[in-house]
Symmetry: C2
Subunit: 291 residues, 2 copies
């Protein structure tokens, strides 16, 4: 799979070139433009427990990231203040918010989990992810809920808000944790159903680019990235930006502990951004030479 | 797999007999005793959106159920009032609370999702479930978080509360939704790791009993039960109590819409309880005849 991914045309294109694909869902187009202009393929994983910590982290790393990945359900005081704060920082510093909910239920339950309850994810996160295990109906169920949320949001000029108010989905196609049970057949099904739902599925959480057919232009985000490879005691395994972007042709590195545990988070984010961007430039350059 | 399940000794034992197994995790033992004494293998799925509706439903069906299954994240005003109310009704009417969270992340994230945030699930739900896709480390991660929560709860006499303050896990071993990607190999892995972690894993969410080895005594809960078979437009598929308990040797039927959408929920719960219990009695009786 790796060598196929390396040969796919998307690995030799710039983010800017890829953003011009007219088949992209609007949010994917927006994100590729953002990465291109801001020159960062870094996503930071905000594994913090208070609104204050979350907003402070967003301030610290906001200039260096394209996406902030959240787990709203581990923020003890999550509420309106969290949402307003996140919206404000993300607009000012220009990054997207990705709630790493890993939806994995049947259609009717999914729709409620996406739109209701204390988290009401659809209202503030433009990207969410879902596993495909419950079956392909998860995609139209979430797409439909997103469509209705967008319509409900855009009902009056006063509430119209700054564009883009888009929503898109990443399928959880692979994981990096030890002994995980994601089979190649499962990953293949994710790719298949992503192609069937290009108007809502923007890409994958995966270890490598899954683009194979000529017009595949999915965005791959890869978690578990650190500057040095290794693991933790609970099955997490780490890869470097060079390996993930350079060799495995992923598009966005997701970094958690490597930045959160750093004494100077701003500096660490700056360093990861640099490494991720260098790996990307080098990959595109070397792929073009080969042609 | 079905015929094996039917031949397994657990399908010919009463819930009372099965509760005497000294290898059971305390909560499994408690639940089997509860089912035996209350004569109900019915779990109601509380897919409602307000604390008021949730507590009203618990009042209505509480006398007829052994477990109330919740989705806390779809309750718009979920908070301390919800938890206090649920605890009060569940103690008075004697049923366990099962938060259908379907955990599916890496160990460190899982622990936070289980114990922190607006939902703080470990504090009020004695049963939760998890998928095994991220790898077997999910089980010790949750078990460890549960152990610490139990210790933290039992720190003073004032907070000791009525026993039992136990926690246990159901592995998401199979689903019923159309086109789901749960393979037999995955289900087998769930069984394998459940056996390795009997002190915390009480059983499975599955379509049928997975008990195979002589000393397997796992509790199976099966969702998607209605009095007549069928499906919805989003991939959900229904089975009857007779099929689930009688033929597939599951232990607990999970009923959602069949009771929630009924004009008289109390009456509907009474009817499902009766059907589930008859199917169980008939199964045990016929299995004993064959011996």
């Amino acid at each position: 799979m790796l060598s196929t991914a390396q040969r796919h045309s998307s690995s030799s294109k710039t983010y800017g070139e890829r953003s011009e694909d007219p088949d992209l869902t609007p949010l994917a187009q927006y994100l590729l433009r953002l990465i291109h202009l801001k020159q960062t393929n870094l996503c930071v994983s905000a594994d913090v427990h208070t609104t204050l910590e979350l907003l402070q982290l967003a301030e610290d790393v906001g200039d260096y990231i394209c996406v902030l990945k959240t787990h709203a359900d581990i923020i003890d005081d999550f509420g309106d203040k969290t949402i307003r704060g996140l919206n404000e920082v993300s607009r000012r510093k220009k990054f997207l918010i990705f709630e790493d909910r890993k939806f994995g239920d049947i259609g009717s339950t999914l729709q409620h989990q996406y739109t209701r309850g204390p988290l009401a994810i659809v209202k503030w996160a433009s990207i969410v992810n879902a596993a495909l295990f419950p079956g392909p109906a998860v995609i139209p169920a979430l797409a439909d809920a997103a469509r209705r949320a967008i319509l409900a949001h855009n009902t009056s000029m006063a509430e119209l808000g700054p564009p883009p108010y888009f929503r898109a989905l990443l399928l959880l196609a692979q994981m990096s944790s030890a002994g995980n049970l994601f089979t190649p057949e499962y990953t293949q099904q994710c790719l298949h159903h992503a192609r069937q739902n290009k108007n809502f599925v923007m890409g994958f959480i995966a270890q490598q680019s899954l683009n194979k057919e000529a017009d595949d232009n999915f965005i791959t985000m890869t978690p578990g990235v650190q500057l040095s490879a290794g693991g933790d005691s609970m099955g997490q395994q780490y890869n470097t930006p060079q390996k993930v972007i350079g060799e495995q042709c992923s598009d966005i590195i997701i970094v958690g502990r490597g930045i959160l545990a750093a004494r100077d988070r701003r500096r660490a984010a700056h360093e990861y951004r640099k490494q991720g961007w260098l790996a990307y430039q080098e990959r595109v350059r070397s792929a073009r030479k080969k042609r």
